[in-house]
C-alpha cells in the first residue's frame, strides 16, 4: 500500500535530481528501495547508493529502516564540513 513520503536533496544529489524537494506516493518499504525508485524517475540521479547515508525525520537511520507515511527522508552524500 502506498503512502506519502517527503524527500529532500542536497548538494550533488539536488543537482543530479534537478529538484530540491518532492513528495511522492510510494510502496518502497525503506530508503534503499526508495532511492532506486527515485533513480528510475530521475535519470540524472547516478550517485551510487553505497556512498550515501540517510536521515529520516532529522535523525540518521539505516538504509533498510522501514519508512512510514509522512516521513521526511533526506539522502546524504559524503559530508565536507569545516
Amino acid at each position: 500500500m502506498s503512502r506519502p513520503i517527503h524527500v529532500r536533496f542536497f548538494a550533488i544529489l539536488r543537482e543530479q535530481a534537478g529538484v530540491s524537494t518532492l513528495t511522492l506516493d510510494t510502496v518502497s518499504p525503506d530508503a534503499a528501495t526508495l532511492y532506486a525508485e527515485l533513480q528510475g524517475r530521475c535519470p540524472g540521479l547516478t550517485f551510487p547508493v553505497a556512498l550515501l547515508k540517510v536521515s529520516r525525520n532529522e535523525a540518521y537511520v539505516d538504509l533498510t529502516t522501514p519508512l512510514a507515511a509522512g516521513d521526511r527522508v533526506v539522502f546524504i552524500p559524503p559530508v565536507a564540513g569545516g
Binding site: 548538494a11 550533488i12 550517485f47 556512498l51 533526506v74 546524504i76 552524500p77 559530508v79 569545516g82
Partner: protein, 487 residues
Amino acid sequence: MFELTATPIDPAALSARLNAPEAGALTIFEGRVRNHHLGQPVTHLEYEAFDDLARLEGEAITAETERIYPGTKVLCVHRTGSLAIGEAAVWIGIASAHRQAGFAACRHVIEELKLRLPVWKKEHHPGGAAEWVNCTAEAAARPATDEMYARQAALPEVGTAGQAKLSAARVLVVGVGGLGCPAALYLAGAGLGRLTLVDGGKVERSNLPRQILFTTAELGAPKALAAAARLRLHNPSVQITSHEGDLTSANARALVAGHDVVLDCTDNFTSRFLLHDTCLALGVPLVSAAVHRFEGTLDVFTPGVGGCLHCQWTGRNPGELDSAGNCAGGPVFGPAVGVLGVMQAAEAIKLILGLAGDAPRQSRLVNLLDGSQLSIAREPRPDCPVCSRLDTLKAVPPVAVTDTTLFLDPARIASVGPTAQTVYLTEPGETAPAGMTSVPALDLARLRELATAGPLVLTCRYGVRSAALARLLRTEGNTQVFALTTA
C-alpha cells in the same frame, strides 16, 4: 553549543562569549577557505547545509565533547553560503581550566564535524568549473593500496589479499585499559575495517602508566570515547565506534554480534565468562588475556577447536575465581599488560588472516619477571558442561540480533507477568540451587509442555544452555519463553 550562520564569522565576538574568570585556557580552531585543494587552484567555495539535522548533529557533537573532556565549555559555529578565499568556514572555541583538555576537545570537535555534520562544499575553480568536495574527487584520489600498509602487506603471509581481509574485518575490544589500549593501537595500525570499543570507566591518574592511549588531557574522560578519539588520529581510515558502558549480560550478545573477532581485555572473571559464553554461542572467536603482577595468560578460543574456558576451570564459577584471583586494582607491572595486549592484537590479526595455527589449542603463559614463556595444551574435556555439547547448542538456529527480548534481566522477571514460571535446567548429576524448580536440560518434552502452558523463564549454571533452549522453543512458536541473564 553549536550554531549555523549565513553571515561572516566574527572571531572576536565568539571568543568574548567564552570569557570566564575561572577558565585559564582558550583554544581556538578556525578553518579557512584555502586557495588550493588536492593540487588544484580554488577561487571560492559554496557551503550548503541540511539545516535542521546539522543543528542537531552539531549540538550532539559539542555536548559529547564537553562530556569526554570534563571542565571544557565548547562553542562552535559553521558558516553557510558563498565564501571567498581566507574567510572562516568554521570556528571552534574551547574554554577550559586546563590547556590539555582544551587542545584535545578542540581537535575532537573538528574531527567529528568532518565526519558527521551534514554540510557540503562546492569548490569553484578558475574558468568556471566546480565540483562537490568528497563526492567524487577525493574517493578517486585515494590510492587503491595504501602505502601505509606497505611493509605489512609485503609479508608473504599477508599480501594484498590479506590486507583486503583486514580492511573488511570487524573487531570488538571489550575493556580499554592496560590490555585494550595497546591491543587497539596495533589493531588500528593493521588497517581493520571496524573497531568497536567497550568500556564504562573513566580515565584515572593511576591508569596513565599503562593505558597508553591517554594523557593527562583525558583525566576524567570516558575511556571508550577518549580512546576512540585518539585512535581516529592514528588511523582515520578505520571506522571506530565506542560503547560507553560496561559489558553486561543484557548487552553482551548485541555487542558481540556483527564482529569477526572479539578481544577480552577485561580484568575480572565474571566479564570473562560472560564474554566467552556469548562468543561461544554466537560462533565468534575470542582472544582473552589476563595479567597478574609480572605474569600474563593468553588464550585464543575458537568455538569447536581446543578446550573452552569451562574446560580450563571446570567446577569453578566466576565469582569464586574473582575472589581468588581477580587482579583489578592490584599491583601490576606496566610492560606485562603491554606485552599481553600487543599479543592479543597479533592473535586477532592472525585469526582474520587464517594464520592462527595451533593458538586455539594452547594457553600461553608469559612471565616478564623471569623472561620465560610456556605454552600448554588446552584440550577439550569430554565432560565439559558447555563445549562438549557445542553441536547440540549449534543446531539451534542463531537468534536474530534484534531479538533482545529473548534475554531477561533477573530484576525484570515480574514484567513477564504473574503466571510466569522460572525453571533451572540441570545437567546429568547436577542439583539445582535450593528453592528453584528444576528440569533436566535434556527433557525437551517437559520443556515444550511448560512453554505452551504460559510464560517460561529458563536459567542454568552458565547461561548458555538456557539461552539455546529458549531460542529453540521460540523457533517452535512459543513467543513467551525467556532466558535469564546471569550477572
